[in-house]
């Protein structure tokens, strides 16, 4: 019997559930092998841990604590979508994304409003009005204007 076989059967060996001549062969090997002996100690401790956990009992004031929780009704586990949502990290991520989007949207709206206010329709002075009229009058006398007028006049 080699160490690997011994290791693989250790749990069953310690439980006493191995059949045939396996327990005897395991015992013979463990007695002569230090590493398997050490592994047996480790597995025994794990088994003892299970036995120890099995014998543990809850706090003697368990009922009092439960009763306190019942009395404080708000601490009772509430079922429903909203409380579950509040506990979800996705909820917080969604809130942050919504807040950022809202901020960007509001910023853009506000920016547009400000730019409209910043550049109102230019108020022309008397001199500028005269300049514009002069330009339009000159335009009427242009070659292109004449050409267009000629075309219109043709039958």
């Amino acid at each position: 019997m080699n160490c690997q076989e011994v290791n693989e059967n250790m749990l069953a060996y310690l439980e006493g559930s191995l059949g045939g001549d396996l327990p005897g062969r395991m015992k013979d090997h463990i007695e002569t092998c230090d590493s398997c002996k050490a592994f047996q100690v480790f597995m025994l401790q794990v088994n003892l841990q299970i036995e120890d956990e099995k014998t543990r009992v809850p706090n003697p004031f368990l009922y009092t604590r439960i009763q306190e929780k019942i009395d404080r009704k708000h601490e009772l586990p509430v079922h429903g979508l909203y409380p579950r949502l509040l506990r979800s990290p996705l909820y917080y991520a969604a809130v942050i994304i919504f807040a950022v989007s809202l901020g960007v949207f509001a910023g853009r709206q506000l920016g547009g409003l400000m730019s409209n206010q910043a550049s109102p329709a230019p108020v022309l002075t008397e001199q500028e009005k005269l300049k514009q009229e002069f330009y339009l009058q000159n335009l009427e006398n242009d070659d292109i204007s004449q050409l267009i007028n000629n075309i219109d006049q043709k039958p």
Binding site: F39, Q45, V46, Q49, E53, K54, R56, I66
Partner: protein, 195 residues
């Protein structure tokens, strides 16, 4: 309350809001529920918290219990579900901690499992053994964990386990066998990794 109260009567009386009946139920089943929670969580304070939650759930939803299964079966199912949820929460917490360590290069607060030189026959600390067990059992698939804990910790028969898990007796047999084989492999790996 010395006399034995039948489970059906107990349920009916709790539904009528009789505090003494609820107290009797807690006293009767607290060890059983706590043992199951501890078998899955391997942490006493955590198992106590979940045990409280189990009885709170029973108190809150007792009127929905139709009596189609045994009261103990119902309690086992609530205890298992709540413990598995707690394990998932712990797993998530651990992932966030790992991420935190990775991003901020923080060192973990919890001490690592260290296995002393076993050749010196030094006994392992209870805390360390709990961590070894937790690590090994948590690696098992969920249904193998449940079957193993109910068989090993609660010492239930395969028939009782099959009722709780809503499966056949042969499936439970297979689950327990596979759980033990896998657990043995995990424990060998854990042992070798600390050698």
């Amino acid at each position: 309350m010395v006399q034995e109260i039948l489970d059906q009567d107990l349920i009916a009386r709790i539904a009528r809001n009789e505090q003494e009946a609820f107290r009797y139920l807690v006293e009767k089943y607290k060890d059983m529920v706590f043992r199951t929670c501890l078998g899955l969580l391997h942490d006493t304070p955590e198992a106590e918290d979940i045990t409280q939650d189990v009885f709170l759930e029973v108190y809150r939803s007792v009127s929905f219990f139709r009596g189609e299964s045994k009261l103990s079966t119902w309690l086992y199912r609530i205890a298992i579900n709540k413990s598995l949820n707690q394990m998932k929460r712990n797993q998530k917490k651990k992932s966030w901690l790992r991420l935190d360590e990775l991003v901020f290069s923080r060192k973990p607060e919890k001490k690592e499992i260290s296995i002393p030189d076993l050749n010196n026959s030094q006994p392992l600390e209870r805390e360390e053994l709990g961590a070894v067990l937790r690590k090994a059992i948590n690696e098992l698939p969920e249904n193998q964990q449940i079957a193993f804990v109910l068989a090993k910790y609660d010492e239930l028969s395969y028939k009782e386990i099959s009722d709780i898990m809503n499966t056949s007796v042969s499936s439970v047999e297979s689950l327990v066998h596979r759980a033990k084989t896998n657990l043995q492999k995990m424990l060998i790996n854990i042992y070798k990794s600390y050698q």
